[in-house]
Symmetry: C2
Amino acid sequence: MAIVCRSVADLRRVQSDLRATGKTSALVPTMGALHAGHLALVAHAATLADCVVATIFVNPAQFAPNEDLDRYPRQEAEDLEALEAAGVAAVFVPDADEMYGPEDATRLVMEGPALGLEADFRPHFFNGVATVVSRLLLAAMCDVAVFGEKDYQQLLVIKRMVADLKIPVVIHGSPTIREDDGVALSSRNAYLSDEERIRAPELNRALQACRSALHAGVKEDEALIQATERIEAAGFRVDYVAARDADTLGPVTDLANARLLAAAWLGTTRLIDNIGC
Amino acid sequence: MAIVCRSVADLRRVQSDLRATGKTSALVPTMGALHAGHLALVAHAATLADCVVATIFVNPAQFAPNEDLDRYPRQEAEDLEALEAAGVAAVFVPDADEMYGPEDATRLVMEGPALGLEADFRPHFFNGVATVVSRLLLAAMCDVAVFGEKDYQQLLVIKRMVADLKIPVVIHGSPTIREDDGVALSSRNAYLSDEERIRAPELNRALQACRSALHAGVKEDEALIQATERIEAAGFRVDYVAARDADTLGPVTDLANARLLAAAWLGTTRLIDNIGC
């Protein structure tokens, strides 16, 4: 049975017991509303350590006041059941007070990979992510932690933060899991109407076409405009479509190490996606 | 022989060897220019764990451009000798690149105990302190860490930061060490002229007189004005003289848990001091 920890103290006892038996552990932080993408992270984590610790916490600090904190899907019982079935050793399910006490006075502020792209549209987002992820990593003190490439910029921000703060954990990215039609799995897909869901694959298809165009020698600016137009033609409102260096998110200098990233709205649902080149 | 580590990787190897032999460790972060106050921290640390790890790093992030980063005293060879004689197991002496790499993009921003007092005069200070201390604590991963009460507000900021980020270390404060005439030991005392050094004890004497006045029933405002006037009469330029709650730095609600804090300039040297009530 997976152990459910509600407090950092409980989680530390679990970690201490694991250490005492010489077991390594891998952390999989989530905001719950688990789908096959999260379970792929758990499966990946299980290949990296003796046991897996998952966390479920919908982090208020990474939502702006106008965003979907209140309607973000919450389904703790189902999530615990899925994690149990996936064989995790423990699940950390703190409430907001456990993560941010009443006297809380510490925030992380990120630059570097946290500038541009998502940050242009969600300026609070990466500082909120870094603030909570640093705490989850330090509360759990696992040897490794796994984050999805679906949130590619977030993955780079977390790697940067961990390196800068010298948190003793190794961060692994895990490939995006997709539906058969190429739509990246996301808890927010649940917001889509049936009609929107039919149009959703165009986001990924446009990125794939963009990659083909770049490899065929089409100039970056032109390829990105074509992709943007294709996404808009499917009824999306585009926040950005960009080609960036896969390590720094700076300008592309080598197509073999480029990443194509996009964010766009279908109705009131914001979808993001990215692919390697 | 104390092991001198120049890199986080070296320090981690030392910590790993200590752990392998079941030894606990206590960290004493310093900016070097060691005096008897620092050695008292080492002695205190030695009572809290099996061995002591010291750090020497003059942190650029906690100095404003107009402050004394360049003239801050540096004497690594003497410092290493003193730490060796004090029996430390290892000394971490990183250069600035080791603490802040060229891609560095992470800063801590503190509120709560980091607001007011020192922050009114050194607005960069506590964010810089929190940023570097979090890294030192995480690079060293000692069981406990010791900081001087001489920098009382800094001690509370560090305790707050460690609790908020959930860094697995216990922070201990260590009493201020003083010269026979009551002057708190400080690396910056070396800046004082002979004539200034003669007037320096008035800072502490004024705080002591303030404490006596408060216990004798003098109102807080009046006692603080008297202390300020006494410090000014000794030729200081006063930044602040304040009475605060010893735990929160909020207003005093119980004289038994109050702290008196002052900062003042003698010529171009800024001295700080504080005492319990």
